[in-house]
């Protein structure tokens, strides 16, 4: 049987199950009321529902920040509305929010593996080193080798990102840090061949 909108008698096009503190609630909305509540519906050229929803969640997770991109003046709000980033710098400015979205959309992957432009070889090498050190740091902490862990942390801090940030990269991928570390190395090796 066709579901009707919770707010009117039109057929519902958006169906969502929300679990809050273990309590499950279902939401069914028609296109008009879905739009009112900020859902982005799929269209021929517009953003997909999935992208829009993931972006919404990413934005909610980031505490509805209103940071502005220094490159294009865009915000997470404008990215959410368009389903598209505004410029390459958006990915730096909104790294956390977009990273969460990308991670979900890409089935858990969070670090690039493969070809890269010659101009980015240094960046890729540094990212690979950071991933490897972060993995070693986690292992050292796991084995309670705190002296070694402190040294690794210092090396990480000497790189362009903080240790926390590097660990964040690892954690984002789930399924253990090995995959990330290996991925970064592969990228660096391919870069060497491609340069």
């Amino acid at each position: 049987m066709e579901r009707l909108c919770d707010c009117c008698s039109n057929p519902a096009v958006v169906h969502e199950t929300i679990v809050t503190n273990g309590v499950k609630a279902e939401v069914h909305l028609c296109a008009e009321h879905a739009a009112e509540r900020g859902y982005i519906l799929p269209s021929a050229t517009g953003p997909s529902l999935v992208v829009g929803k993931l972006l919404q969640k990413a934005q909610a997770a980031a505490g509805r920040t209103q940071k502005t991109c220094s490159g294009c003046g865009g915000t997470m709000q404008s990215i959410r509305e368009a389903g598209l980033a505004g410029c390459p710098l958006c990915y730096r400015q909104f790294e956390e929010e977009l990273g969460a979205l990308i991670n979900r959309a890409q089935g858990g992957a969070s670090v690039h593996v493969g070809r890269h432009p010659a101009h980015a070889a240094d960046l890729v090498d540094r990212a690979a080193l950071r991933n490897r050190l972060a993995k070693e740091l986690r292992e050292a902490v796991g084995r309670e080798e705190y002296e070694r862990a402190a040294k690794i942390r210092d090396r990480l801090q000497a790189l362009d990102g903080s240790a926390t940030e590097a660990l964040g990269v690892l954690d984002g991928n789930g399924g253990g840090g090995g995959g990330d570390g290996d991925g970064g190395e592969t990228a660096a090796e391919e870069g060497g061949r491609g340069a």
Binding site: A44, T45, V51, L55, G71, C72, G74, S78, I79, A82, G83, L84, A85, G86, C87, P88, Y91, R92, E95, L98, G99, L101, I102, A105, Q106, G107, G108, A109, S110, V111, H112, V113, G114, R115, H116, P117, A118, H119, A120, L123, V124, R126, A127, V169, N173, G179, G183, T186, E190, G194
Partner: protein
């Protein structure tokens, strides 16, 4: 019209399929089919292979947030760069913003440009290689969409050519890249390799056996996008299905191409071939009736809609690949699948574009003449 498909056809320019392609080490091969005609690999079940890379220029806003002046600058920047690769032997640039609607539609029907690219109004252009195997859309959703096409299943040679082309292009253009996210694209779900590997499958036997739901589920399990004859949002007209990768991050381009070639596409091919064998063994007369009836309609009709044309050509295609129909070549059918479309038809016959009845009469006339 020569039914063996050797003629270049009434429309211009000729399809890239008619020209063997060989650039450096990456050789796009051809095989000989049962009817003696040249056949690309696995062409009984795979109409064509395509690889696309999304790239954006450093220092420019993405297309959705760029001013017309910025977009015009992007076009100039790309036009000034040496394209190289498959474009070394000649390149045709089309200013898509100023060209006629009929030209735009013809480029779309030839798969050089996408539907949104046809309908947009901002500054944009497309470069087409002289052998028509490669194109570069400038200012689609991303600044550059590099695309290579080949008949049949030829993803590996296409990939080799594409990577060489990309590396050559990068000497003249600086692409936006992030160490964690890879190549940056306007849509956050395309970042990483920015690669889209796809195969246009022809699955008429699975359709006849009503197994397509299983195919769709299998594709979903393999994290593939499934689209129709004309890409996103189109129906599976003629039982043609385009499958493409959705994951672009965390796996190398080569991995994705290898998986498609070694595992994904062969699964669909094996499934379809088994269905064809079963249908032929179970009731060959029904298959024969279906394919020869389609050929009969195409050779006799007086009014033919586009959907009918695709449907019956697809059935004849099945008959040719099964070796039941032997007086029509596969290359001719595959070429006709393009040439019966509105803009090609209008150019070939002079009939007005999209004029219902005249259009159908012109299509029927064209198909009859081509198949006799």
């Amino acid at each position: 019209m020569n039914p063996t498909g050797d003629s270049s056809g009434p429309s211009q320019p000729s399809m890239g399929r008619g020209t063997p392609v060989n650039h450096g080490a990456a050789h796009v091969s051809r095989l000989i089919g049962l009817d003696g005609a040249e056949r690309p690999p696995e062409s009984d079940c795979v109409l064509s292979s395509r690889i696309r890379l999304a790239r954006n220029l450093l220092g420019f806003n993405f297309v959705n947030r760029a001013t017309p002046q910025m977009l015009a600058d992007v076009v100039h920047r790309v036009q000034a760069a040496r394209l190289g690769g498959p474009f070394s032997d000649g390149v045709r640039w089309v200013n898509v913003q100023t060209t006629t609607p009929a030209d735009r539609l013809q480029l779309f029907e030839r798969n050089f440009i996408s539907r949104p690219f046809v309908e947009a109004s901002h500054p944009r252009a497309v470069a087409i290689s002289s052998d028509e195997s490669a194109s570069v859309m400038v200012n689609e959703e991303d600044h550059l969409r590099l695309q290579m096409l080949a008949p049949g299943l030829q993803l590996r040679p296409l990939a080799e050519r594409m990577f060489a082309f990309d590396a050559e292009l990068e000497r003249g253009l600086e692409f936006a890249f992030h160490p964690r996210f890879g190549y940056l694209t306007a849509c956050p779900t395309n970042v990483g390799t920015g690669i889209r590997v796809s195969a246009m499958l022809h699955l008429p036997a699975l359709s006849l056996m009503q197994e397509l739901d299983k195919v769709q589920r299998a594709a979903k399990d393999l994290h593939l996008a499934v689209r129709g004859f004309h890409g996103e949002g189109t129906d599976a007209l003629g039982d043609f299905f385009q499958v493409s990768n959705q994951v672009t991050l965390g796996r190398s381009e080569q991995d994705i191409v290898d998986e498609f070639t070694r595992s994904i596409v062969p699964q669909f091919i094996d499934y379809e071939r088994a269905a064809r064998d079963e249908l032929c063994a179970r009731d060959a007369a029904t298959i024969d009736d279906r394919v020869f009836r389609a050929l009969g309609i195409l050779r006799s009709c007086r009014l033919l809609s586009l959907d009918e044309a695709i449907k019956f050509l697809a059935r004849v295609r099945l008959g040719v690949t099964l070796g039941r129909i032997t007086d029509v070549s596969l290359s001719l059918i595959d070429r006709m699948l393009v040439e019966v479309q509105p803009a090609h038809l209008a150019r070939a016959t002079g009939c007005p574009l999209g004029n219902g009845r005249d259009d159908r009469a012109a299509r029927a006339d064209f198909v009859r003449r081509t198949l006799h």
